[in-house]
């Protein structure tokens, strides 16, 4: 089955991102296709490379980045939600005059528009939302 996943909460405060990660991982292991993972609301905070959780805890961002690398996942962060919360790639950092090195988007994630969410809903057989 072709699945799309939406993550609406950030790391650690809520379980949603962890559950979405476990679901996505399990779906891939079962041979399903993940058309896209879309991060919205505080979910965009899963995409910062600057999180440094304690060593004996899971690293939510790294989990996603590694899963993306292993399976070639398309992980999209909503641009409007990201701008509100300070998630920037090189282009956005430059465009908003935030200076060199301000980009904090983690490997495997890309910033794009909400149209990518709607398109995922259209293209996938099922769109699965993880939030509160």
């Amino acid at each position: 089955m072709k699945l799309a996943v939406v993550v609406n909460e950030g790391p650690y405060t809520h379980q949603a991102s962890d559950t979405a990660y476990q679901f996505t991982k399990a779906a891939l292991e079962k041979g399903h296709e993940i058309y896209r993972v879309f991060f919205y609301h505080d979910g965009v905070n899963n995409a910062t490379r600057l999180t440094v959780p304690p060593q004996d805890e899971r690293n939510v961002q790294k989990n996603w980045s590694e899963l993306a690398e292993k399976h070639g996942l398309d992980m999209v962060v909503c641009i409007a939600a990201a701008q509100r919360r300070g998630i920037l790639d090189d282009n956005e950092a430059k465009r908003h005059g935030k200076g060199d090195g301000a980009a904090n988007i983690a490997p495997g994630f890309r910033i794009s528009g909400l149209g990518q969410l709607i398109e995922a809903g259209i293209q996938a057989d099922r769109l699965v939302v993880f939030g509160d």
Binding site: V6, N8, Y40, H41, A80, A81, R84, G113, L114, G115, L117, I118, E119, G121, I122, Q123, L127, V129, G131
Partner: protein
Amino acid sequence: MSDTKRFLYVNRKAPHGTVYALESLEVVLIGAAFEQDVSLAFLDDGVFQLIKKQVTTGIGVKNFAPTYRALGDYDVKKVFVERESLEERGLSEDDLMAITHENDDEEDVSSVEIVDRARMAEIMAAQDVILSF
């Protein structure tokens, strides 16, 4: 992207206090460009989003309530509000803002339909894609 799907946006949270309502509305407006079969549902505290005469100056946040009235311009014509959610909060249809669209005869008609919980379940069951906020 040839086929049309039935999209339902479920709004369950109050307009302020969290950002869900505002960011849900942003999805609806962007999504309008994709020409899908769109419905909106308001239930639980989400019914507060449609209360008329909202004033947000006291809390220093943007009042996006007028945007709901523009939904008709975005070809969003189906707005379902759950009756039980209204009643549980001491509200009635009279407390809600008018949301209209132009029908085929170019008359402004209400987009809002008050439905009971059982009907809301049927509406949900009939969708292809449900985005819950």
